[in-house]
C-alpha cells in the first residue's frame, strides 16, 4: 500500500477522528483477506464450465 492508497488514507482518517480503533480495522482486513483466499480457492477447485453454457447471460 502506498501513501495515496485510499484504503490506507481512510483508515488513517478514521483513526485520527477517533471513529474506530485499530482492532476493528485489523478484523476488517482479516475478513476481506479470508473472503478473497476462499474465493480464489473456490475458483481454482471448480471444473471448467461446459461448452453448452457459452450462450448464457447475454440477454436478461
Amino acid at each position: 500500500m502506498t501513501q495515496r492508497d485510499p484504503i490506507a488514507r481512510l483508515s488513517e482518517w478514521l483513526l485520527g477522528a477517533r471513529l474506530t480503533d485499530q482492532s476493528v480495522l485489523d478484523r476488517i482486513h482479516a475478513d476481506v483477506k479470508d473472503e478473497i483466499v476462499r474465493g480464489v480457492q473456490f475458483a481454482l477447485d471448480a471444473k471448467f464450465p461446459d461448452v453448452s453454457e457459452v450462450t448464457q447471460h447475454v440477454y436478461a
Binding site: F48, P49, V51, E53, V54, T55, V58
Partner: protein, 328 residues
Amino acid sequence: MTEREITFAEAIREALAEAMRRDPAVFIMGEDVAEAGTPFKVLSGLVEEFGTERVMDTPISEAGFTGLGVCAAMTGMRPVVDIMFGDFITLTMDQMVNQAAKVHYMSGGKLKVPMVMRTTLGASRRSAAQHSQSLHAWFSHVPGLKVVIPSTPYDAKGLLKSAIRDDNPVVFFEGKLMYRLKGHVPAGDYTIPLGVADIKRAGSDITIVATSSMVQVALGAAKMLDAVGISAEVIDPRTTFPLDKQTLIESAKKTSRAIVVDEGYERHGVTAEIASVIADGAFYYLDAPVKRIGAMDMPVPFSPPLEDATVPTEQGVCEMAKTLCGRA
C-alpha cells in the same frame, strides 16, 4: 543471402521508426507508449531514439488524446495514436466518427486529418469480454475513414507506412496473437498500397477470404483440405476500406465457391459485407451459397473452453469447405 525474418511486432516498430526518421511531423501518443512500450512491447526502444516529445505517454483518456491527435493532424502533424485495446475505441467514437471522418468533407476539402489510430483485435488470450473484441467493422462502416487489418509482418510494415503517409484518418488493427508471428520482411524501404488484396495461397476449388488473425486459420484449413484433395485459395483483403472487390470476385468466379472468415462478431459484420460483394459480383459463377464464419455472437468469455468455442477454427473452416464442395 538468407531472407530476413522478423516478428509482426518488430515489423510495426520498424515501420514507425522509419516513418519518424523520414518525416519530423510523425509522432506517437497513447497510454504506456514510452518507457513501457505498450503491454505487448511493440514500441520498445522508440522513446530512446525519438525522445518523449515524439513518443508521448498520455493520461488514461482515450477521448481526450484522440481529440488531440485529430487536431494535431488538422494543423499539419501526422500523429499515430495508440489505443491499447481495440475494445477502447468505443471511447474515441465521437472524435473519429464525427470529427476525423467529417472534417475534410465539411470544410469543402480545405482541411485534412492525416492521422493513424493503431489498435488491436482478437480473442484467445483469456482477457475476457472487455479486452478481446474485434470491432474493425464499426470503423469500416463510416465514410471518411480507412481501415487496415494486416495478417503478416511484411504486410503490417508496408501497410503501416502507407497509412502514415495517407492524408486521411486511417485505423490500423493489429491481431494481438500475431505480434510474435515471424515472417519475411526485406530490410529496404517499401510500402503496400491501401486497397489491394493479396492471394496468400493459390487454389482452384474454393475461395477462403480471411482477414487479420483469421488468415493463419484459413491457411491451416487449406492445408487440411489439401489432404482430402480440395484445393483452397486464401485471399486476404488487407484493408476493409478501401476494399479490393475485384480480386475477391475474380477468385470466386474461378473457384465457384467462397467462405468468408473474420474474427469480428458474425452478425452485421465484415463477413456480411464481403459475402455480399462476392454474391453480387460472381453470382452466375457460383455453385454454392457464399458462407460466413465470424466470432460467435457472444461477449468473448474469459473461461478458456468457452472462449475457444467462440472463435473460428481451422477445423470449422475445413468442415464448411468440405460441405460446400460436396465432400462432407
